[in-house]
């Protein structure tokens, strides 16, 4: 958007803020690819590939067996067809299941040894130099002075985690934040105890595939009573062509702990669709709290619907302990096809689950997303706020489940899902499932569908805004409830994303 260049910056507004917003404006800006030497496993998936991935990650035998049994099960499963999305059949044998930058074979000694293209990638993604060094796996980088903000980052480049920052500082607090392959190596007891307990390997087609072939991902363990000293963050980047990314995230918040976790994703523009099938498992013990925020900005494909990422993700949080709490916040602007239902199992008494979502679909994008709130414990509470925005020829579906188990006495759910349509070629759909099996619980569900209000647009226009700005403002207002739930850094980015995702959809 050029409008920003000409706008006079008001006193008190940080130039950095203006630059950040400017930076975020414009069409899909993460569409570049890094031409990096990659190491691939052969295309396709079979038991050999599963073994190979396991071997590359230096996994113990129990892990290899775990993967193989998942793979065997996957062979017997059918792709789910119930979602309101259409895409050509995926040839699962035409995908690379393992790819990693060659320079990662041996640990580089300094930034000079690192493939400069990999560094350039991080610079483009806006990761500070110090973190770049760590992400690039430079030995001793941890001891370099940090600059500015403190967010520990784990970056996953195609199939492998390329580095995690601030590990030493986190260690002081007792927090374990590393790639899942390292966790399998260094903390097998934790991985063994928790992996697959929230999303079992047999859960669904994509989760089962992920269980067999996940190549890396992040692992977080917050010990009892610890408030994680900084926000943890993961960047996912699909770079290589024809690859699938199957990352697995495992977060364990032990009794009385707290952590806020951010996840961001990007991918280059390719004209062939790429698969992303991730699994996120969160275990929350007594009195612990986890905030999980996602800004999903995978490449959405071009205006004709060519290419883009198929984002088939299983995310689930298990509130095991009493008074535990989870909050999912997601801003879904990317991906050609999204199939994602971050869920909360409210097992502990008085546990709480919250879900805030903005899903924006433009051009030929299709999003089928929502949440599941399964109330099992007494006095459990959940709140769902979902805002779906469709523009262009996009289809946007909210699909959700609220289930009150007979034993979940005095529980409470409130659901609000609103849809906004911009243009007459798009669709907005709501498919909620409500199952109430006791009477002391209250469930309320509300949904509305409307178009951008003409009066509001007219008012903005009369104050001198151009039409696109006016729509962006009205839409941001529509999304406010969700944007407010995001951590500060993300809220900014998300707000700008809302504006750019709708670019060109007016009229």
């Amino acid at each position: 958007m050029t409008a920003l260049d000409t706008v006079e910056v008001k006193e008190g507004v940080d130039q950095e803020t203006v630059d950040a917003v400017k930076e975020l404006s414009g069409p899909y800006k993460h569409g570049w690819a890094t031409d990096i030497e990659m190491e691939y496993a052969p295309k396709g998936v079979n038991t050999d590939i599963v073994r190979l991935i396991s071997k590359k990650n230096k996994e113990p035998e129990w892990m290899t067996d775990w993967r193989l049994s998942a793979f065997e099960r996957w062979g017997k499963m059918n792709e789910p067809k119930w979602a309101m999305v259409n895409y050509p059949d995926i040839d699962f044998q035409d995908i690379y299941y393992y790819a990693r930058p060659k320079s990662m074979e041996e640990k580089p000694k300094s930034l000079d040894d690192v493939d400069p293209k990999l560094l350039a990638t991080y610079a483009k993604l806006g990761i500070p130099l110090k973190e770049q060094a760590i992400l690039a796996g430079v030995e001793g980088a941890e001891d370099m002075p940090a600059e500015g903000r403190k967010v520990a980052v784990d970056a996953v480049f195609d199939s492998v985690s390329v580095g995690t920052t601030f590990q030493a500082e986190l260690k002081k607090a007792g927090v374990i934040f590393c790639s899942i392959s390292e966790a399998i190596e260094n903390h097998p007891e934790l991985v063994k105890k928790y992996l697959g307990t929230v999303v079992p390997p047999s859960d669904n087609f994509y989760a089962t595939l992920n269980s067999a072939v996940f190549s890396d991902g992040s692992f977080v363990y917050i010990p009892p009573g610890v408030r994680c000293p900084m926000e943890l963050s993961t960047y996912f980047r699909i770079n290589a062509e024809n690859t699938g990314q199957f990352e697995r995230t495992l977060i364990i918040a032990d009794k009385g702990s707290y952590v806020s976790y951010l996840e961001g994703c990007t991918a280059p523009k390719r004209d062939v669709a790429q698969l992303h099938a991730a699994v996120v498992e969160i275990i929350i013990e007594e009195d612990a709290e986890v905030k999980y925020s996602t800004v999903q900005n995978w490449y959405p494909g071009d205006e004709e619907g060519n290419g883009g990422i198929y984002n088939f993700v299983t995310k689930r949080a298990d509130c095991r302990g009493d008074r535990s709490k989870v909050m999912w916040t997601q801003v879904e602007t990317g991906s050609a096809v999204t199939w994602k239902y971050p869920s909360c199992i409210l097992r502990g008494d008085d546990s709480q689950g919250e879900f805030y979502s903005i899903a924006i679909a433009n051009n030929m994008q299709q999003a089928d997303t929502g949440t599941k709130m399964v109330h099992l414990g007494k006095n459990t509470k959940s709140r769902i706020v979902s805002k779906g925005i469709s523009a262009g020829k996009a289809q946007n579906t909210y699909r959700g489940l609220v289930s009150m188990h007979p034993k979940a006495k005095s529980s409470r759910n409130y659901t609000q899902c609103d849809s906004l349509l911009i243009g007459d070629k798009c669709g907005a759909h709501t498919v909620p499932y409500i199952e109430v099996k006791n009477n002391s619980s209250r469930v309320e569900h509300e949904a509305t569908t409307s178009k951008v209000d003409d009066d509001q647009l007219f008012y903005c226009r009369s104050r001198g805004m151009d039409e696109e700005e006016a729509v962006a403002l009205v839409v941001n207002g529509f999304c406010k409830e969700v944007l407010q739930a995001l951590p500060m850094e993300f809220a900014m980015e998300a707000q700008a994303l809302v504006a750019i995702s709708l670019e060109g959809s007016v009229g």
Binding site: W82, M84, P406, K409, S419, L421, I422, G423, D424, K425, C426, G427, A428, H429, T430, V431, P432, Y433, I434, E435, V436, K437, N438, N439, S440, S441, R442, V443, E444, H445, E446, A447, T448, T449, S450, K451
Partner: protein
Amino acid sequence: MALAKLKIDTTEARLADVDVPQGAAWGNAARADAMARVRQMGLPTKRDEYWKYTDPTSLTAVNASEAALFVNDEGPLFADVDRIKIVFVDGIFDADASDNLIGEGVEVERLADAMATDIHWAKDLYGVLEARGQNPVERPLAALNTALATDGVVIRVTGKAAKPINFIYLHKDVSSDAILHNLVKVEAGAELTLLETGPAAARFSKQLEVEVAEGGTFHHVRAQGRDHERRAVTHCFARLAANSTFKSFTLTFNGVLTRNECILEIVGDDAVAHVAGICVGDGKDFHHDDTVFVTHDALNGESRQVFKKVLRNGATGVFQGKILVKEGAQKTDGYQISQSLLLDEDSQFLAKPELEIYADDVACSHGSTSGAIDETALFYLRSRGVSHDDARNLLTLSFLAEALEEIEDEGLAEDLRARLEGWLTRHR
């Protein structure tokens, strides 16, 4: 694939000994087409998404389960209403008990007679709306009804009908298995009120196809009887032309299993479609399912769905409602509310209220709630000297009021309200 084949095999086995009734050419063809639809779709099973909350096994079984006869001590409903009575006993038309089938503004014939006539308007309606209604959601039990219906009447409304028509269903045989199919054609500017009352049979499959032409009005009020052991699946398919009005209200008491499907298609501009229902159920073996599908395919349409359920002692209530707004159906106003009042810990409410919208200049909303009686309101009434039971009745009736108000004729609404009050008093 294996699953689909199993379903088809099961369907074939079930249909092997079924006799399709024979009549004149067009009737036979319509039935054969419907049978082909059933074979292609397969009979429903609990595994189907559309039957997620209701088990269709007893509806598709070869033999109907027995249902004890119920003696209704309240006397017939709408007794004071001047109406044309059409009586069916266990699904068979009873000419002696029925009124003369001649009324001002209406032409009534028995389905068999219409089917024996080579050229008949019913040909363009029988099974036609049902076939249209198979997409996007398959309703094999409706097609099965079209194929196998043994009786029914066809009504053509040419002007403003002087009296309402009342279908009265009597149940006299403990193992009766009735399949009825009725047609109503409301011509341009014409108007009819149709009443349906009574329990019908041990197992009852009933279909109503309604075509409302431009400016026509169709009011429908039905009360499904108080007998406890009935199993019923009913379908109502309606197509609405420009400026037409369709309003349907259903009251369901008891019954082991009731599935009421209503499928409306608005094809003309400025049409109005309202569907409402109340169900009251008591006991673990009570299962009631309202399934509604409203399609807007014209400008400026208005649709309302208002469904209320009162459930106690482990009763189950299901609501599956959908508003589909097709591309170009601008200025649509769609509203849907489904609420349940659970009177005790064991009852359950399962709902799937859906919106599917492909037009941008529309206002559609839906709401769904479930909960117990408001203790504060109860306490307030008690503090004003109202007994606990009366207070509960009062609050329950006020909860149901929004749905009862959907009935335009106040006399009919008052009759049903009195029945509801009686039910609430008996079941506490």
